[in-house]
């Protein structure tokens, strides 16, 4: 029996000066969905809104991939995000999505196994998802048709596998923003 890992949330700080709300352009304010009464927008959002077009497009896609109804179960998407974030070295993203996985499943077991580097403790479905997430996140990708076959063998259909591919891939994106443009600190 291993004691469960309890992860505390981290704070993120950018390496460049974020946009100050008082100096934001109308396009930046619109992209951030800032209302005149808004007092606080996160440093992450205000950093990315230096380029409002890409910020807006990516936010819409990210929310669809992680939160759209139906298809792949939410914890499975979080596990894909976590596997990618571990490979890509984004500690902040890894903690956020590990905690979300634990909340959604009401269990620290999977997160504990991964943070203690004991993937052999995972059940077959989580193992297939985690392995694929790691291999697709390598650069270049190390994923193979066998990984897809493993996902199918644990009962995943094509729609779910497409959802998973997107969840992993959008963290190939998000990790390269969050871990590149800033750093995480204990809250």
């Amino acid at each position: 029996m291993i004691s469960s890992v309890r992860l505390k949330p981290l704070n993120w700080h950018p390496y460049i000066a974020p946009v100050e709300l008082s100096e934001a352009t109308p396009e930046q304010l619109e992209a951030m969905k800032v209302t005149p009464s808004a007092k606080k927008v996160s440093e992450y959002v205000r950093t990315l809104v230096h380029d409002p077009e890409s910020y807006l497009a990516r936010t819409i896609l990210f929310n669809a991939i992680m939160y759209v109804e139906g298809g792949l179960a939410r914890p499975d998407r979080e596990l894909g995000a976590l596997g990618a974030s571990m490979v890509n070295g984004c500690k902040f993203c890894a903690v956020v999505h590990a905690r979300r996985h634990a909340e959604l499943t009401k269990s620290d077991d999977v997160v504990t196994a991964l943070y203690l580097d004991k993937p052999e403790a995972l059940g077959p479905r989580d193992a297939a998802i985690y392995r694929f997430a790691r291999r697709l996140s390598a650069a270049p990708s190390e994923a193979t048709a066998d990984d897809i076959a493993s996902l199918r063998s644990v009962g995943m259909d094509d729609a779910e596998i497409i959802d998973l591919i997107h969840a992993i891939s959008i963290f190939g994106w998000a990790n390269r923003l969050m871990h590149v443009l800033g750093h995480a600190e204990s809250a």
Binding site: H50, D51, D158
Partner: protein, 160 residues
């Protein structure tokens, strides 16, 4: 209609996977909007479309993605690239500034994002990039790394 991701994944309308992708119109539309926002933005922040495509070609090669390499090669030839941009696209490192610094950054963040640290962003600033350019470049790098993974995953589904 076939979009850039179908092309990258080698999907045609009679493939079952072409239809399966469209169970998620949000993903199809969203990925295309993102592609336009990093490759052909209305405001390019001073990072010209041919520089962006040259960098995308370089990152497709780093990801060993011959389909995307070929796609970006075609796009680049349509954008009147300089010798320097062609060299950048081909993965060369002996480049003028700020291209040399940008290329080194793109290579590190594509291949070993784990190694990213504050000094990498400082180097971009020293090479003359302003904050909007640093963010726009980061989004471009991140997008191509997303695109190649979705395309790779879809290709694997076809072959599995």
């Amino acid at each position: 209609m076939i979009d850039a991701m179908d092309k990258a994944a080698g999907l045609s309308p009679d493939d079952a996977l072409f239809a399966a992708r469209r169970f998620r119109p949000e993903f199809v539309q969203g990925a295309e909007e993102c592609r336009l926002s990093v490759l052909q933005p209305a405001n390019d922040q001073g990072l010209a479309p041919n520089l962006r495509v040259a960098l995308a070609r370089r990152m497709a090669a780093l990801n060993a993605d011959p389909v995307l390499m070929a796609e970006y090669d075609v796009l680049l030839t349509q954008l009147d690239p300089t010798e320097q941009l062609l060299a950048l696209a081909q993965g060369e490192t002996d480049l003028d500034e700020p291209l040399a610094t940008i290329a080194r950054h793109v290579d590190v963040i594509t291949l070993t994002p784990k190694q990213a640290e504050a000094g990498h962003i400082a180097l971009l600033a020293q090479a003359g990039l302003n904050n909007p350019q640093i963010v726009a470049l980061s989004e471009l790098i991140a997008f191509v790394n997303f695109q190649t993974r979705v395309a790779t995953g879809l290709r694997l589904m076809r072959s599995a």
